[in-house]
Symmetry: C2
Subunit: 736 residues, 2 copies
Amino acid sequence: MKKLFAIVVCCLLAYAVHAQVHPLAFNNATEFKYVQANLKQTALIGQSYNNLKITTDRRMLESIDVPVPKDAAGGYTHDQHKANYLLMFDAGLMYQLTGEKKYASFVKKIFLEYAKLNPTLKNHPQATSSAPGRLFWQALNDANWLVYAGLAFDCIHDFLTPTERIQIADGAFKPIVDYFINEKPDWFNLIHNHAVWACAGVGIVGIATDNDNYVQMALMGSKKDGKAGFLAQLDGLFSPDGFYNEGPYYTRYAVLPFFLFANAISHKYPAQKIFQYRNQILKKALDVALQQTNINGNFFSYNDALKQKNYTSNELVVAVDIAWNAYGFDSSYLPVARSQNRIILYKGGIGIAQALSNNKNKFLIYPYQSASYTDGADGKSGGVSVLRANPKNQLTTLVFKYTSHGLSHGHYDKLNIQLFDNGNEVIQDYGAVRYINIEQKWGGRYLPETNSYAQQTIAHNTITVDEISHFKGVEKTSEMYHPNQLFKYFSPTNKVQVVSALDEHAYANVKLFRTVYLIQLPGVEKPLTLDIFKTKSDSIHQYDLPFNYLGVPMKTNFTYTPALEEQKTLGKKNGYQHLWVEATAKQVSPFTQFTFLNDSTFYTVSSLSSDTPDVYFTRIGANDPNFNLRHDPSYILRTTSQNQTFVNTIEPHGNFNPVTEIAHHSTTAVSAIERLMDDENYTAVMVTIQEKKLLVIQSNKLFDATFKHEVSINPLGKTIRWQGPVYIEFDHTTLK
Amino acid sequence: MKKLFAIVVCCLLAYAVHAQVHPLAFNNATEFKYVQANLKQTALIGQSYNNLKITTDRRMLESIDVPVPKDAAGGYTHDQHKANYLLMFDAGLMYQLTGEKKYASFVKKIFLEYAKLNPTLKNHPQATSSAPGRLFWQALNDANWLVYAGLAFDCIHDFLTPTERIQIADGAFKPIVDYFINEKPDWFNLIHNHAVWACAGVGIVGIATDNDNYVQMALMGSKKDGKAGFLAQLDGLFSPDGFYNEGPYYTRYAVLPFFLFANAISHKYPAQKIFQYRNQILKKALDVALQQTNINGNFFSYNDALKQKNYTSNELVVAVDIAWNAYGFDSSYLPVARSQNRIILYKGGIGIAQALSNNKNKFLIYPYQSASYTDGADGKSGGVSVLRANPKNQLTTLVFKYTSHGLSHGHYDKLNIQLFDNGNEVIQDYGAVRYINIEQKWGGRYLPETNSYAQQTIAHNTITVDEISHFKGVEKTSEMYHPNQLFKYFSPTNKVQVVSALDEHAYANVKLFRTVYLIQLPGVEKPLTLDIFKTKSDSIHQYDLPFNYLGVPMKTNFTYTPALEEQKTLGKKNGYQHLWVEATAKQVSPFTQFTFLNDSTFYTVSSLSSDTPDVYFTRIGANDPNFNLRHDPSYILRTTSQNQTFVNTIEPHGNFNPVTEIAHHSTTAVSAIERLMDDENYTAVMVTIQEKKLLVIQSNKLFDATFKHEVSINPLGKTIRWQGPVYIEFDHTTLK
């Protein structure tokens, strides 16, 4: 597909080079006229336009400042160059929308400054990245600059004289493009979000300046062989489902160049139908990213991620509005656009604003769904499952991650789970340690604790063996492997959702086999998470299973020894050095219970271990000389055994309203967990909840949906027969 | 005034006893008809009525349950009796509003159960309070029951046969009233919020059951001598300004019985004009409570207080709606009622809902004002000042507390400050350690850490001398004294606000003299807090001054030694045992700076000490075996000296938007603090901010607003002349 596309592009390039009219990188002239004609159609459009006009006009009152690069992220010159490229694009838009030459003239003046500055630049003085920038500390930000400056140039193309165009193309753009292509080709040709930005930047500049060579390299890589470049990125960074290999936080970041460049390509080569490429891979990517948010719109924070990022960020405004144009009406985008409360001045922005206006009280909540997404370009590198219940205000979401590593921003987190409920994160993934763009925090870079803590296995809700992270914390090794999904069962009513995955590579000598269930039991208010986590080894190991809960401890069913006067770390390395031990319980009963209060809801983690575990209550914050870490707690079960089976339930229950002062059901309804059977073939467990019995039997070997099982469960004195990998019965009734 | 009132009441009682018609405790029949006629007037009224009807009807479907008392707060029987009294009143209202007998009949049935149960009760099995309850663990909750049950009885009075009335009065009410009056007269006769509830309960029951003896005791105390009871409470618990002695959190709690009982009295003795009593003391009380909230409506958390409580709580709905009726239109109540988004089915509730409907886009924000409130019945027991700037969305509020102790819920916090900004608490008062009504947390009682940490001086933003709390942490001693305000200066434009107070009793051998300034400097975005805190002693002491900030540390201007592998407590007692030391800096330069990020705003605390202080970064959480404490940080300056002057500025600056990733002005604009003069007579300081000079001179002795000062400031080589206690000059211009 890529090859065919390339040939056609080359032919078109040959044809197009003499005939190109501008603008066309963002909107063409007809589209700008359409936007202009509709500026008063709805309040949201008017307000988005007014905001653009007001901020642009205000910033144009300030003198032009194109400083010599000096500061790291968050510092003055960094912020100024960032402000410049945003302003250039905004003023370019204003020129097209009003026809007022002052805007174009202003953009031109800035460009002429860059045309003087850029040829003089060497590597940025604050460059610490393997891909240093010129205007900014890292090349990524220079690529951002190219994208916006390219779009801005396109907007004022016709205002410029041919001489000015050459002056800017050669002075402002060429030094950066040449740097990317000639000095950093390995970086430019990566299949990675940085390179997506780089290709989008070079490609958009190519389209804006009628430089077909740039466009070809952007699409096909610097060698124009199709092994790199935008099309290879569309092929390589997404699974067939649209799952982006770096996870939702970076999808958010990457959708912007993907959509902006695709939009520019669709203008230049409409016949290519770039938005249809690979079965609409860009729409799938956007939809999978949106599905990977919590009800507040915040993206799941696995891999390197900052928790505050949500779908109201600028990147998603651009992506949703462009998608609206490319793919037509999709009601799922309306709640997102409503939260964003702004549009881009683009045909799709006008369209979505009109749709919002026509659907005032409809489509208020994003249509969250349960799904399994595959990872890997061929969909064969594991994946992530999102199990959901109550898809309205009180949405419960259980995330089960068994993806591949996820490039440089991946964590050592095989078979990790995350639980969201009632709008909150309840069992968390820490995300990354970073204060983006805050100069005092190492210039806004990823902080060292990202590697020393947040990426380590103990920071995740999965098993660490012998206090060593998965793949010994070596990215290169981790990149080579991935767990596999063994089976997935979503019952027709979605009352029962089960996903099982196996990891055989995180540790040389231990296999990790986890099956997670989200079950809506009749007569029980909230869905119950059941988690059967088995280890298999031929030797004895220490297994640590943390629940990185957020909330206030309420109660345990065991006594523990608190660290009263003195606190020490849980360990010396692999993330353990960042955990203070707040309390310890040694060799408690195999059945442990821990209740905590998160916001207004109580949660109880009940666990049955194969032997008598130790329990640690820890808090993040040790070995943190610069106060970079959050002080979040964890509840860790530790056993030293050969083949361990942890059977855990996580039960949301009751609520507490601090205003009315009323607490309901603050104690758990789970009173027992029994292991009825646990061998190579089957694991059978019985959970007593509200004094009723939940019986779950899973096959540990045969996962075919049509296979018929027959097992006699001795403690029950009966034989159960069923079809498919799991059998679930509650209060003597089979659940499906 | 009290005596006269009492005589008139007695006369009226003599007259009224035979002629009384019901209902009259909450609404009289005419008022109920008025409410009924207006139920469809506005959406808010309709919605409030529908909620009442729906919840009442739903709860009436459940079987009546009047269990034998057994559980602590948050437990089943506690919650059930609480649910019962609320339901009884609601169903009583529904009977009056609909005339449907099923409601009255339902209330009667519950009452008859209580008439059987109550005579059998002894002290509650979970009673640990000095005033144990019968239905509940503490008598206070029994008083709550009396208030609501009394109102409910009044609603169904005419539905009951005379025999039933006697049966209920003698069976349900009398045992509790007798218990209060005969067995707990010392408690009933307190001037304290518990006794307000008790008097309101006994009084409302008296009015409902035509028992004038009850009413007399409720108004005048069990001995009917006026030394106790409701009128003595109105006289004794408020300052002439309306400041409630226990602080805003408990005002919130006490306004309910105050307003409900006053309303009942106003129905029974309209000629008494109880709402006019003591120059409308109840309106003042309500207004002072509302002024003591942050922009989110949360009450200031000084004294024992839970932070989540805001003015949408039920108590404030009742108070505001009754005040609306008693005092007429007051636009300041409209933003409060709008946030409450519900009304009580009462004439004032109808009125305020109509006013909201007539003023849709007006009065959106509570009119926060700067003010000094006196404490003490005579207004001579110190007070609290609330300094404010930007009284809109970004409100900055500096609270300066120099009140008396505040009864049993007071803290050892003389001269404490609290800073709110931009919707957030920035320099906090911990409040109390309590999970109200959560059974697992010691039955919802105040937890031991309230006393061992939250009440101690080190938990506050004021000086602890020699690691000993004010008044050695002895309530009885603390109750005897209070600081005094020395002067207050609010400039005509409020650009300069200054309050000074002196404490001479917290320590036998150290005087504490603090002057706080909130200054809006021309050309500076946010108001600057300046804090001059002097100690005076004839011997050397250790002075600890904490800033209990909330946020993430960003930067210091000194190096410190972090506790990496091991953490110990700051001390052994008086709250110090609960603080982990996270980092220490010994004998740093006298000028220390510390920047932190709170939500989206940066704050820098700059301090000039008289010598080289030690600095401690601490975190709450040590010696907390039950995980009761929050893990909040503190920044503590420590010096060992005789007469210390801490000059501190707290500067809000810049902002950080995690969605757009843009940080502005993340570094402080304060570059120096100099002490130009500091003796018995004057303290003169110079703060360099944005490279301009802020000069502040304060008189330490002569505070008269008309006194003319003349001081030569040697380091400046000039003499300054001014009038009044302070002189302020910025960038060579005098600020007023």
